[in-house]
Symmetry: C2
Subunit: 428 residues, 2 copies
Amino acid sequence: MKRTYVKESVYCIGETILLKGWVHRVRHLGKISFMQLKDRTGKIQCVLEGELTGVHVSVESAVEVQGKVVETKQQGLGVELLVHSLTVLNKAQMLPFETNKEELTVNLDTLLNNRVLSMRNEKIQAIFSIKAKVVSLMQEFLMREDFHQIFTPKIVAQGAEGGANVFTFDYFGQSAYLAQSPQFYKQMMVIAGFERVFEIAPVFRAEQHNSSRHLNEYTSVDVELGFIESFLDVMKVEEKLLNYVFQGLKEHCEQELSLFTTELPEVGIIPSMTLAEAHKLLVTKFNKQSPDGDLDNEGERLLGEYVKESMNSDFVFITHYQKESRPMYTMPNPDNSAITDSFDLLYKGAEITSGGQRIHDYDMLIQSFTEKGLQPADFSSYTEAFKYGAPPHGGFAIGLERFIVKLLNLSNVREAAEFPRDIDRLVP
Amino acid sequence: MKRTYVKESVYCIGETILLKGWVHRVRHLGKISFMQLKDRTGKIQCVLEGELTGVHVSVESAVEVQGKVVETKQQGLGVELLVHSLTVLNKAQMLPFETNKEELTVNLDTLLNNRVLSMRNEKIQAIFSIKAKVVSLMQEFLMREDFHQIFTPKIVAQGAEGGANVFTFDYFGQSAYLAQSPQFYKQMMVIAGFERVFEIAPVFRAEQHNSSRHLNEYTSVDVELGFIESFLDVMKVEEKLLNYVFQGLKEHCEQELSLFTTELPEVGIIPSMTLAEAHKLLVTKFNKQSPDGDLDNEGERLLGEYVKESMNSDFVFITHYQKESRPMYTMPNPDNSAITDSFDLLYKGAEITSGGQRIHDYDMLIQSFTEKGLQPADFSSYTEAFKYGAPPHGGFAIGLERFIVKLLNLSNVREAAEFPRDIDRLVP
């Protein structure tokens, strides 16, 4: 008999069907037992009578059941299954914690150590259903907007973002690094003639801090586009992307989102302010000083509050970061070379994106490397591309797990990674 | 003025438009000059007269031109542009080789050393347009079939495929590896309740051989599904996937495909034979001996020829590989424990997929690790998942670049990687 999914059972009233899934809960009431069965599409009550009453089947075991679908008003689904036969495909051993509660009552470490089991929990499973939907909406939007999907190497000869936070290893006698970002490569693909490109792939940061905001491996949604007029064109693409994603989530993930405290706003037009304006506002409104040329976490949080209250926006672009706080490929502002044509995007008071226009002139790029104390010769396989008609271009990157954390009001970025990596965690 | 793309220019006859792109070719004929301009959507002839005649603009420079669209019968596109103004956005220096030929006449090393420039060539660009389309068709198919997109770690504590071909590095004082495959993690996500999952992501193999078939980093299309009846269910999914991809390519990539010698067959039902049958056939038809429990390259090539000639198929499944030639997670055949419920898929005589049913019983899995000489305790974060109701499951992986090589009849897998990695190549 062909398998029927739980959500399809409502169309099968009076029919005998085969369901497969996991045991969510069992109750024995004298001559009758009730077993809730879950598959990836939902949960259904299975009624066990006669010989099947009191059957021993442990919660989270994989089972298949055959039975007849009957209507019932006592179940949300509107139907239940009168079971004819039950087969245990694989019995679950004693669970280290209960999975079938609304909220797991274990600490994050236990939850992550038992990742497979904790994902059986409906709310935790919903995080990854929403994450998958976010990604597919992003892919859909970008492909409709004629962005070309690329696959660039994660084993590289140089870090693209500067700093010491790179993992290094021996590559057949050479020193290699794990890519901190696909930055150089996405620019090179734009210059190579693809014009508009994107990549959704892992990036690696050997950062020592063990915070609730940082992972040592995360998923980066990288977008880059050529022939722009200014970095405002780049911000426009991100704004459109976010509008598309939020619209899609409303249409497709209502049930999953209802498990969280989040409310989905209309994104609309995202407000924007310069870093200088943001600094001034933080002093004026909150008596808060910021680090030179940058924002700290507290500053970002306060700006998030401010735009929510004053403009009812979850998002705000902060533009024109100072040169010293941005990487060597960042385009200086044409009117003030101390600042750059760059931006961050804050979502609910946390940075989820860095972006901006890139330098496309070969000589300016070499000069910028030198000013940052880097040897241009070490990066020649990148800079070479700028000798052959690199168009004006820019782009941005969204940290996917951080985006999910803010979207669902989670408290730790590890909750949004299937199998997170931090300085202490290499398994599972 | 808003940018118009070349392919849209045919709808703008009589209008003044702004085009942006790269100089493909320039010809000066006395009082008139012709410049071919290309953008990612096509090529158009630009006519330069008056002051603009004889303008110095090097091939592959990034330019923008304004002009009037006029009809012409002399150009394939049906229109050309009478240029009013031309702006060089970024001048190309002297090229190391000519990019505007049908086929580049440089060796593979030069082509890869100058990857950005070689991609400006129409045929090379088409490889990556087709690659992107193949991936988006796969994503589309898998999402329609309710497969859940996952993001699993590439930094791992153990190799999943056994053997010594792993890159190792120091991870905050621990030994870590680059993932050879997402095998363990995709199984764990199935078991975690997602049932049907896929991931399209980089994998890493520290293989020492420098062949035309191997990359040290490649893109793996990984698929895994739960509650299967047998490994035939897995093969069915791959067959449907390939039918969908080929149908989509016919509809969307005709122009790009026309640059290659490839012909797209109807995939239909893919023929299948056991490894034992394949061995026998190779002896009978080709007097060819095979290595124990496996096929060599020559054997695969001959089988490819055989199914093409006798069944007009580009594909053939080879099933039931012997236990010793498959990894520890492979399900033994229920009737003959010396062989496994596994398969490879050959495409034009080369392996592009390994797949099969996996062991889902905890005790059987531990025994299989032990039989392979592995310490189950080293893999406990994986095996632990099998204690809690792992359903019968299986899956497969397609090597994306190898698939593209066979699809387009390329001669080296490096041609299908944006920025390939081999034992000698770490840049660009």
